[in-house]
């Protein structure tokens, strides 16, 4: 965390999971920021090259699973001659605490950045107790 935050090329981490995929495509772990405000937890993921329709967000057993797929057909007819980064799908999963209102999850995609807004459950919101 103390590392410098200057802009640099971030080597893509390949996803390692216990389950194997049945398609011969590579998956990478998207870079993520997570921050918390008074009423929500926001997860920001970088998924460059993914269209809105190719993003799956699933919630199962308190785990939110994000899978974002690249459309490889865009690379048809292109003959690679020099390469500095790998191209593949993205997948990442986060375990939610039970303080999240699982019905109030918002997702937004802008310029290759996926923003998930996880609203906190009402009972988890900070309350001010008035002294009688």
């Amino acid at each position: 965390m103390a590392a410098s935050q200057e802009l640099a090329v971030q080597k893509k981490k390949e996803l390692t999971t216990k389950e194997e995929k049945t398609v011969p495509a590579r998956y990478f772990v998207p870079n993520a920021d997570i921050y918390e405000t008074d009423d929500a937890i926001t997860v920001v993921l970088e998924v460059p090259g993914v269209e809105k329709k190719d993003i799956d967000i699933k919630i199962e057993n308190d785990v939110v699973r994000i899978e974002a797929r690249i459309d490889f057909s865009k690379y048809d007819g292109l003959d690679p001659i020099y390469s500095e980064y790998n191209v593949g799908h993205y997948a990442r999963a986060f375990t939610l605490s039970d303080r999240i209102d699982q019905n109030g999850i918002g997702a937004e995609l802008n310029d290759g950045v996926l923003t998930l807004t996880l609203k906190k459950a009402k009972e988890a919101l900070p309350r001010r107790i008035a002294i009688q």
């Binding site: 935050q5 970088e46 460059p48 500095e84 980064y85």
Partner: protein, 139 residues
């Protein structure tokens, strides 16, 4: 072939990457200020296509210049958090960048095109007519 693999193009790219990961095709360029953003270069017929991943950068924050055989991509990448937010995880990097690369062919700058979608910038660089190989007829 009975079965064609739709991932062939991609796997070729990945093989090229694995082979060239330690190469220095563009690394030693004296101009520019660093290796961001990472580039992939493709050939499409006579023309070149340069694709780069710049997630989180607005179209209006990108500046692209093409001249002869030099390409410059500059811009800034903001990463903002709301005030009063407490950060749990911070992996995304922010800052300004300015990268200049030289490719081994002359580019017809007037017909170069740039496209930006979903955090991917694609530069279509047609090879200059004067630079294209000329066929020689054998008499």
């Amino acid at each position: 072939m009975l079965l064609t693999d739709p991932f062939d193009t991609l796997l070729n790219l990945q093989r090229a990457l694995d082979a060239l990961a330690d190469g220095d095709w563009l690394e030693t360029s004296p101009s520019g200020t660093g290796p961001y953003p990472p580039l992939n270069v493709f050939r499409k017929g006579d023309d070149y296509v340069v694709i780069t991943e710049v997630a989180g950068i607005k179209k209006s924050d990108l500046e692209i210049q093409v001249n002869n055989n030099t390409i410059r991509v500059a811009g800034k990448k903001p990463v903002d958090y709301p005030e009063k937010a407490s950060l749990h995880r911070r992996e995304r990097l922010a800052g300004a960048f300015d990268r200049t690369i030289t490719i081994p062919v002359q580019i017809d700058a007037d017909h170069a095109k740039a496209e930006y979608h979903d955090g991917i910038l694609a530069l279509y660089l047609p090879r200059a007519a004067a630079d294209k190989p000329k066929p020689i007829n054998i008499r």
